[in-house]
């Protein structure tokens, strides 16, 4: 299959454009979408292409999010942009109390094909209110599927899948990855939710990660290789549902598991993976499962403190090395 190079941003726009051509009920809206293609220009590829189906909204997060329920029930397929993951809190009730519960409360009367999507994670000195990763919260509360892609190839395939399935989905697109380049097949394809991807094969340590930390983990694996340590890196790609089988199979092989995410360590999703795996593969573990995550403080503005708080490959290497003492 022939492939082309593109960024994650391109991959999103390509998937959106293809599906919007096919399905006239898909529309997308949010702040700074129609004129600018997102605050980072990440959806620029859609500007001017679909008239009334790419819409700028006022700064009204509760209605931006809550409207998705009404739009879906009225026969549309809303793709709603949340601007910054931090401002999911601003309209949180529309997500946690409406989008994530209506199907269930109604006794399953109708499907709710809703996509929430937008940037999350750190950038550079965006400080405490513009740097959060909040995917764990949507893994904890039941009612939405959680996608955390790391590469153009995965982003495209997961978007294609999301745009044709029928449940609420939230996409966390890492700010620092929009420009990330990679090869993407020219033919259309979909990647179903719940299938992890082994991004690097190895035998000594299993790393389970997602999003930006996938890239940091791969760098760490490369460096650890020089010390003769063979690391397997698993990209979960989706957290709800998450692929337990792939992780367990790897842990059976390596006996050592490190879970790596950018979000706060305390009660982050790494704790769920840890708890599940120790419960279901205890006898295969050589020692405790370890976790890498941000320090449990808000993000600081000043660069060196941000770098201190937020994990990167050095934290991964440091934590991985503890297995070998």
């Amino acid at each position: 299959m022939s492939e082309v190079e593109m960024t994650i941003s391109d991959a999103i726009c390509r998937a959106m454009e293809e599906e919007m051509e096919k399905d006239p009920t898909i529309f997308t809206y949010g702040e700074d979408i129609a004129e600018q293609g997102g605050i980072f220009g990440q959806y620029k590829g859609l500007i001017g292409k679909f008239d009334d189906r790419v819409i700028d909204t006022p700064i009204s997060e509760e209605v931006i999010f809550g409207s998705a329920v009404g739009a879906a029930l009225a026969g549309a397929r809303p793709v709603v942009e949340f601007h910054f993951a931090d401002f999911l809190f601003t309209g949180m009730t529309a997500i946690a109390n409406q989008i994530m519960k209506i199907r269930y409360m109604s006794g399953g009367q109708r499907d709710l094909p809703i996509i929430l999507r937008g940037p999350d994670g750190r950038s550079l000195s965006a400080a405490a209110q513009h740097s959060q990763s909040v995917e764990t919260i949507f893994m904890h509360i039941p009612g939405i599927k959680v996608v955390v892609p790391a590469t153009p190839r995965d982003t495209y395939g997961l978007y294609k899948y999301a745009l044709t399935q029928n449940d609420p989905v939230i996409f966390f697109e890492h700010k620092q990855l929009y420009g990330q380049k990679g090869m993407v097949p020219e033919d259309e394809y979909k990647i179903p939710f719940g299938e992890a991807d082994i991004k690097r094969k190895g035998n000594d340590i299993t790393i389970v990660t997602t999003s930006r930390m996938l890239h940091e983990s791969l760098k760490a694996a490369e460096e650890l290789k020089e010390d003769g340590i063979s690391v397997e890196v698993i990209d979960l790609r989706t957290l709800v549902p998450w692929d337990k089988e792939t992780v367990i199979a790897s842990v059976k092989k390596t006996g050592r598991l490190l879970v790596v995410h950018e979000t706060w360590k305390r009660a982050g999703w790494g704790a769920e993976v840890t708890s599940y795996i120790q419960e279901n593969a205890f006898d295969y573990l050589d020692g405790p499962i370890r976790r890498v995550g941000a320090y449990n403080v808000p993000n600081s503005f000043t660069p060196e403190q941000e770098n201190f708080i937020m994990p990167d490959k050095t934290n991964v290497i440091k934590e991985a090395s503890k297995f070998l003492i």
Binding site: S60, G70, P78, Q98, G107
Partner: protein
């Protein structure tokens, strides 16, 4: 009673409006009784005294028009054509209820009827209405209209503001209906709401705002008739405030320490069914005989509904793990 436009309304329509209100009243009285008797679980909020609003407005809607409702939603649902059997079964938590027992009174909904949900969250329906309106305008391009019902208390929530601004800028086909019943739970709207009439807020969104007597079913019907036509013709959103009074406690079992019994008693005089009855008697549309027949009929319908609910099975406990997703492959319920 509304003085103008009476003759817009045919005698048959008069009776239809009357019967709808009687249906709702009977449903609510029975629900109250069964709740007090511990046969209905959870908590329920009654629409008694406010029947004219749902009745008068929804009579002007087509089957495929949408409404969003509130925690006090039985009346809206019945007015939109709900089957009392399935409603009562839902209140009982039974499997033939509209939501298979998962929703109960506060979350009763039926999308086939265009009821996009009662809602346990105050003002929770407003963003939903805003979204249905947007989809109609931008995607489905039908002539559907959305009516968003909400309370005077809800009008102090941010969602009210965001939804009205949103509907205005996109010129959406939404009728916003405030049921001003003087209270938000224990709090008098006089103390919590900075304006006397919620309709005064309409100007802040550059839309029309109207206050009417919500206990006069004809006034409600006529005004809604005009406004819904206007909206269907592309006027954009309108805010209609219906003044009424919550004759019962906030929920069944409310100790009601926050208000004077006398205040409530006085308000029973303006109760919409009795008022309309007097009018119908005065105009020879109704007499005692007919009235008795109508009430007997709806009492029976509601008795049947209770029987239906009682005889219906509960859903299985493990069916609690159904209905969350269209596709739950790989999902960890435990």
């Amino acid at each position: 009673m509304a003085k103008n436009n009476k003759n817009q309304v045919s005698k048959e329509k008069f009776l239809k409006l009357y019967e709808k209100m009687v249906l709702i009243r009977n449903f609510e009285l029975k629900a109250e009784e069964k709740f007090l008797n511990s046969e209905i679980p959870g908590f329920i909020h009654l629409y008694i005294g406010e029947e004219a609003i749902a009745t008068g407005i929804i009579e002007n809607l087509k089957e495929d028009d949408f409404i969003t409702s509130t925690h006090r939603g039985h009346g809206h649902m019945l007015a939109k054509g709900a089957d009392p059997n399935k409603m009562m079964a839902e209140l009982y938590g039974k499997k033939d209820g509209y939501c298979k027992g998962k929703g109960g009174s506060m979350h009763i909904m039926n999308f086939d009827l265009g009821v996009l949900g009662a809602n346990g969250e105050v003002a929770g329906g407003l963003p939903i209405a805003a979204g249905a309106g947007l989809a109609i305008k931008k995607i489905t391009k039908t002539d559907q209209v959305v009516v968003a019902f909400f309370g005077d208390g809800a009008s102090n929530r941010g969602a009210f503001h965001e939804a009205l601004n949103w509907a205005s800028i996109y010129n959406l086909p939404i009728l916003f209906v405030v049921e001003y019943n003087n209270y938000a739970s224990t709090i008098s709207s006089k103390n919590s709401t900075s304006v006397e009439n919620i309709s005064e807020r309409a100007a802040g969104y550059n839309i029309e705002g109207i206050t009417i007597d919500g206990n006069d079913v004809l006034e409600v019907y006529n005004e809604a008739n005009k406004l819904i036509k206007k909206i269907r013709n592309g006027s954009g959103p309108i805010l209609l405030e219906c003044k009424t009074y919550r004759l019962k406690g906030h929920f069944v079992g409310d100790p009601e320490d926050y208000r004077d019994k006398k205040e409530v008693e006085k308000r029973w005089d303006e109760e919409p069914i009795n008022r309309f009855e007097n009018y119908l008697f005065d105009n020879d549309i109704l007499d005692n005989d007919k009235k008795e027949k109508i009430w007997n009929n709806y009492e029976n319908i509601i008795k049947e509904a209770v029987k239906f609910a009682e005889n219906c099975d509960y859903p299985k406990p493990e069916e609690a793990l159904e209905d969350l997703f269209a596709d739950d492959s790989g999902y960890d319920y435990k």
